[in-house]
Point group: C2
Chain length 155, copies 2
DNA sequence: CTCCAATCATTTGTGCTCAAATAATTGTGA
DNA sequence: TCACAATTATTTGAGCACAAATGATTGGAG
């Protein structure tokens, strides 16, 4: 297979990866009541403690305005709370409720779904190769992204 | 790096890949007026000729209800038309307008954006490795997906 | 020939995503 | 100190994605 055919295939396959991840998220939601972004947010709050909306958005790599809705839904489910930040009235402090902590004990870790189950069935060598390849992809894509942003910011 | 750390990393990186793809789509839309799904749909219609909504959804791997909105927007832009299917009144035949065909000549091919530009800068050997790795990923993910669907359909 | 189940497109409802505009608050430079 | 710029969260608007329900049409079984 020549290079351009490989590139075409990589894109098709990436679309399928994205698709599978989405289906997985919907599936977890249907079965468990929490979507992947919601689980990621909870898990990150558990790991890093209370955080401002902006800080959490940064670690989750989401746009702040995206995270507002996610936190809204977590709050509606009684899993997260918005406290005012005593030091800065512009900020909020998002923290977990005891209910959330209890739930996280039994929740599928965002990186332990059935997709990861498949990865675990692969040899360590294969997983390492895959990790390297995906890391390369990220590097290339984000580099191009930055470059383009810089380029167009000059216009 | 041990296996579970590799798996964790793979997932983080995949999230970043998805993120970069989304940003790219939004970017093309802002600059060109068409989102990635719209471009994919146009390109597929150009390649395969007029198609029913269900058939197009299948080749694009989208849920039919998702595609309805995409086609609505293409129609609103004067790029696609819904014709009745003479053979079956339930079906529609989606086809391109001349405007769409003219536009496609200058449009960024869905798989020729700046992300692909980055891939093209890589060596053929690297690209081949990446293709294999991503294909492995797809195989693993979709196999797990099928397995889970089968498992839960037995409940 | 007539029901009735299957098929096809669509609508509705929920959620995620971004960007741009808005409002409140902070901190700083004159 | 005080006006003004920066920061922070939110709202608004557009689009994508799925599932489930709906309505129209087809085609087959009795």
């Amino acid at each position: 297979m020549d290079k351009s055919a490989s590139i075409e295939r990589i894109f098709q396959d990436l679309r399928r990866v994205v698709h599978a991840l989405e289906l997985y998220s919907k599936d977890v939601n249907a079965r468990f009541g929490l979507t992947a972004p919601q689980l990621w947010a909870l898990w990150e709050l558990e790991r890093g403690g209370p955080a401002s909306l902006g800080a959490l958005a940064l670690t989750l790599q989401l746009h702040p305005s995206t995270l507002v809705g996610v936190v809204d839904r977590l709050e509606a489910k009684g899993l997260a709370l918005r406290d005012p930040d005593p030091a800065d009235a512009r900020r909020i402090r998002i923290r977990l409720t005891p209910k959330a902590r209890a739930l996280l004990k039994h929740a599928p870790h965002p990186a332990q779904g059935r997709l990861v189950h498949g990865l675990q069935a692969m040899s360590e060598r294969q997983v390492t190769e895959l990790r390297r390849a995906v890391a390369t992809l990220v590097r290339v894509m984000e580099a191009e992204d930055l470059e383009a942003r810089f380029f167009f910011s000059e216009e």
